[in-house]
C-alpha cells in the first residue's frame, strides 16, 4: 500500500508524459484552427473530433480528412501514415486573415512521410499555437478492388506514439473521368508569376521577348495548368491586355503587314502551348495525359490585325491571313481536342478601344462581334477539325445578346445572377450546340467551408456546362501572414517552402471532392430520374426544393438596363441569394452520403 501510494504521483507523471500530444481527426469540411479548435465559420453541430477515420468513397476518386496533432508543450514530432492505397499528406498553413483578424488553414504544403515538425511551428509564427494540422488525401485508383482498406496515422515524439485508425470502404462505383460541370480557374497575363516566383524565375528576363530563362516561365505555366487539372479544374490564362499588348509566349511571332502579314515563328508559342494541346504536359498525372479543353486565343482588336486598319481592307487581310495560318498549324499538329476561343476582354473604360468586348452594356457594341465572326468564318474552313469558338462574357445585356448574337457567339459565359433571370435561355442556347457557363468569385477563407460547393452545385442544378472563378491565382502581397480573405486565389506560390511551383489550398481540395461527387451524381442520371435526384440533393444541401434554385420570377427594376447600376443588380438578387445564406459546414457531406448510397455504396 505504501508502495502504491508513493508510486501514484510517478504514475500520473508517466501518464501525463504519454499523452503530451493528442492525435485527432476532422471531416474535411470542418477546418481546424491552430489552438486545438475548429474555425468559427465551420463550428456548428456535427463538427466532431474523431478518434478514428471511417470513410466511404467510389473508385477513381479521393477521400480526404484533417489530421490534427495537439500539444500544450513545445516539442518535436514525427508523423507517418500506413495505408495500402496511395496517400498524399499536406501540412496546413494557418494564415492570419486580415479582414477578421483570425487564423484559417488554407495553403497545403506537401509533406514527405515520415514528416518531422514542431509545435509551435517556428515558420508559422503563431503565438500560443497548440495544434498542427495535416490534410490527408487517400487516392483510390479506378481499378482498386472494392473492399474496406485499413491503416493508421502515427504521431511520435520523445514521450511516445499515438495512433489513429483509418478505415476506407471502397464501393464498386467509379467516378467518371469527365466532369458534370467544368470548373474553370481564370487568370491574366504572366507578370504575377514574376512577382510570386523571384527565385524560380531569377534567370528570366521579363523585359525580353525571348530570353534564356523563358523555359522556367513556361514550366511554371504548365505547373499551374497541372495543379488545376489534377484537382478537376481547367485553367485559363489571358495573354493580352486591355489595349492589346500580347505577352510573347501567348501568340506566334508575326511579320509583314496588310496582305503580306504572316506568322514568322511558332517557336515560343509551340513551346508554351504544344504540351498543353497534345496533353503531354499532363503525363504522369493521376488523371492522365489529355489536351486542355479550352484556350484563349491572343486575338484582340490589336492582334493579329493592327487597329490602324480597322474598317479598311487591310484589317480583314491581316486577321484572315493569321487566323488561317493558325487553323492550318493546329490541324497539322493534330490539336483538335481543344476549343480555341476568340474572346474579347477589353472594356472602353481602360481606354484602349472604343467598344466593350467584355460585359457589353451598350447594344451597338454587338456590331463588332458580327464583324469578327464574319472574318473568322472567312479564315476557318467549314469542315476544319480544329474547333474555334466566338466567346462572349456577358451580364448587363445578356438576354439581349442571346437574341442579337445568335449564331455569332457559340460560347457564353454569363453572370450567374443574370442568367437565372432568363432560365428559358439555357435550353435554347444549348439546343444550338452553344456552351453555357456562368461566372463569379471565390469564397473567402472566413466563409463557411461548404460555400465552395455552392457554385458547382448551382451550375449542375441549373444545367449549365461550367462555372468560371474569374481570378484564382492572386493570393495578395503577403498571403502567409496577412491574407486578405484569399477570395482571389485557390493556389499559393510554393517558393517559401522551396517548391518551384504552386501548392494547392483546402478550398481547392474541397471543390475537387465536390466535383468528383457531382460527376458520379451526373452518371447516376442515366439510370435514375434526374429530377428526383436533384430534389433529394438540394433538400440535403440546404433544405430547399429545386424550384428555389430558379430565379425566373425575380422582380427586376422597371427601368431600361442603361439606367441600372450594380446596386440595382444586388438588390434584385438579394431575395434569391438569401436562400443560400447560412449553409451548414456539413451540407455537402449529406449530399455525398446520398450520392454514394445511390451509387450502390449503402451503409
Amino acid at each position: 500500500m505504501w508502495i502504491l501510494r508513493n508510486s501514484l504521483p510517478v504514475l500520473f507523471l508517466l501518464a501525463g508524459a504519454c499523452h503530451a500530444q493528442q492525435l485527432r481527426a476532422l471531416q474535411e469540411y470542418f477546418r481546424p484552427d491552430p489552438f486545438g479548435g475548429i474555425v468559427e465559420s465551420d463550428r456548428r453541430p456535427g463538427a466532431e473530433w474523431l478518434k478514428q477515420i471511417d470513410l466511404r468513397a467510389a473508385r477513381g476518386s479521393y477521400a480526404s480528412f484533417h489530421l490534427v496533432v495537439n500539444s500544450k508543450a513545445s516539442a518535436d514530432y514525427k508523423l507517418s501514415v500506413r495505408f495500402p492505397l496511395p496517400v498524399d499528406v499536406y501540412r496546413e498553413w494557418f494564415h492570419f486573415n486580415t479582414p477578421d483578424s483570425k487564423y484559417y488553414p488554407d495553403a497545403l504544403i506537401p509533406a514527405s512521410l515520415p514528416y518531422e515538425f514542431q509545435i509551435p511551428d517556428a515558420g508559422n509564427k503563431i503565438a500560443g499555437q497548440t495544434a498542427q494540422a495535416f490534410w490527408v488525401d487517400l487516392w483510390i485508383p479506378a481499378n482498386t478492388e472494392p473492399k474496406t482498406y485499413r491503416g493508421e496515422a502515427i504521431v511520435s515524439s520523445v514521450s511516445g506514439n499515438q495512433t489513429l485508425p483509418i478505415a476506407l470502404s471502397v464501393i464498386p462505383a467509379v467516378v467518371p473521368q469527365d466532369d458534370a460541370v467544368t470548373l474553370d480557374n481564370n487568370s491574366y497575363g504572366t507578370s504575377w508569376l514574376v512577382n510570386q516566383y523571384p527565385k524560380t524565375l531569377a534567370h528570366f528576363d521579363e523585359s525580353a521577348a525571348s530570353s534564356s530563362g523563358e523555359g522556367q516561365l513556361i514550366h511554371l505555366i504548365h505547373a499551374y495548368h497541372r495543379i488545376f487539372y489534377e484537382n478537376r479544374g481547367t485553367f485559363h490564362q489571358l495573354g493580352y491586355g486591355h489595349a492589346g499588348k500580347v505577352d510573347p509566349e501567348f501568340a506566334p511571332e508575326l511579320a509583314g503587314a496588310g496582305s503580306q502579314m504572316h506568322v514568322a515563328s511558332w517557336d515560343l508559342f509551340d513551346r508554351h502551348y504544344g504540351p498543353l494541346l497534345d496533353g503531354s504536359a499532363f503525363r504522369n498525372t493521376r488523371r492522365g495525359a489529355k489536351p486542355i479543353p479550352f484556350m484563349y486565343l491572343p486575338v484582340n482588336p490589336e492582334w493579329p490585325a493592327s487597329f490602324l486598319w480597322w474598317g479598311e481592307p487591310g484589317y480583314e487581310a491581316e486577321f484572315v491571313n493569321v487566323l488561317s495560318e493558325m487553323e492550318r498549324h493546329f490541324r497539322e499538329k493534330h490539336w483538335t481536342g481543344t476549343k480555341f476561343e476568340v474572346f474579347f476582354n477589353h472594356k472602353k473604360r481602360y481606354k484602349g478601344f472604343p467598344w466593350d468586348g467584355d460585359e457589353i452594356r451598350f447594344a451597338r457594341d454587338n456590331n463588332y462581334f458580327r464583324v469578327y465572326h464574319r472574318m473568322l468564318e472567312k479564315a476557318i474552313p467549314l469542315n476544319s477539325p480544329v474547333h474555334f469558338a466566338m466567346r462572349a462574357d456577358t451580364s448587363w445585356t445578356a438576354a439581349q445578346q442571346f437574341r442579337e448574337l445568335e449564331g455569332v457567339i457559340s460560347f457564353w459565359v454569363v453572370g450567374e445572377g443574370e442568367l437565372l433571370w432568363h432560365p428559358d435561355a439555357i435550353p435554347r442556347l444549348k439546343q444550338h450546340g452553344d456552351i453555357v457557363w456562368t461566372y463569379g468569385g471565390t469564397p473567402a477563407v472566413q466563409k463557411v467551408s461548404t460555400e465552395i460547393t455552392l457554385n458547382p452545385l448551382r451550375s449542375w442544378i441549373n444545367r449549365v456546362d461550367g462555372f468560371v472563378r474569374w481570378q484564382t491565382v492572386d493570393p495578395g502581397p503577403d498571403p502567409w501572414f496577412h491574407l486578405n480573405g484569399g477570395d482571389l486565389t485557390l493556389v499559393y506560390s510554393g517558393e517559401r517552402f522551396n517548391i518551384p511551383g504552386p501548392v494547392p489550398s483546402i478550398r481547392l481540395k474541397l471543390q475537387r471532392n465536390c466535383l468528383q461527387d457531382l460527376a458520379l451524381l451526373n452518371a447516376l442520371c442515366t439510370r435514375d430520374s434526374r429530377k428526383r435526384l436533384e430534389e433529394e440533393v438540394v433538400r440535403r444541401f440546404n433544405h430547399t426544393q429545386v424550384a428555389d434554385w430558379s430565379n425566373a420570377n425575380a422582380k427586376l427594376p422597371a427601368k431600361p438596363i442603361l439606367d441600372w447600376n450594380n446596386a440595382d443588380f444586388v438588390d434584385a438578387l438579394k431575395p434569391y441569394e438569401a436562400r443560400f445564406a447560412n449553409l451548414d459546414p456539413d451540407a455537402w457531406l449529406r449530399v455525398r452520403e446520398f450520392i454514394l448510397y445511390r451509387a450502390g455504396g449503402a451503409k
Binding site: 507578370s191 523585359s207 489595349a243 480597322w310 473604360r349 481606354k351 451597338r364 442603361l562 447600376n565
Partner: protein, 187 residues
Amino acid sequence: MKAVMVFLAVALPLCARDKVQLEHDLDQIAKVATVMVDGDVCQRILTPRALQHILRKDPRDQWADGDNYDVDDQAFITTKKTLMRLAQLANYPVDVNLWMPLDGAPGRIHVVIRNRYEMSQFWKWGDLTQPTPPIMQKVLEFGQRVGVEQKSGYVSVLAPVRNSLNNIVGLVEVVSEIRPNARENVK
C-alpha cells in the same frame, strides 16, 4: 570569347535604347503630334452621358462611372489612328496617349486613348480620371512641350493638342522605355 563580345555589342542597342536619342525622337514625334492631332475631334470622343456619370458619383455604386463610360466610336477611331501613325515614326515601341481635362471637373484629367504597348508615366492602372499632374497643367496652360522622366526607365514628352479656336483642349504623352518590358501591363 571574342565572338560573344561582338554579339553583345550588336545586341545591346536593340534592347536598351540610348536615352538622349530616345528623348530626341520622342520630342520630334510630340512636335508633329501637336500639328496632326485634331482637338475638335478629340472633344467629341467622350459622350455627354459618360461625362455626366463621371461628374456625378453614385453613392450606391462605386463602379457606376466606369460602367457608363462611353465614347463616340468615330471620333475615337479617327484620333486613335492618328496617334498610332505618330508612334510609327519611331522604329521601336512608342505609345502616343491622349489626355484631356474634364469639363466641369477643374483640376482633374483623364487618359482618353491608350495604345498597344500600354505605357504611360502617369496612368494608374484602372483609374478613370485623376488629379491633373502639375507638369500636365503647365502644358495645358502654356502650350509648351516638356520632357518627363519621373518613372524609372521611362521617358515621355508631353505636347499640347489644340482645336480650331486655337484653344489647348488636351495633350499627348509620347512615351517609351529605355528597356521595354515585353510582359508588363498585361492585366
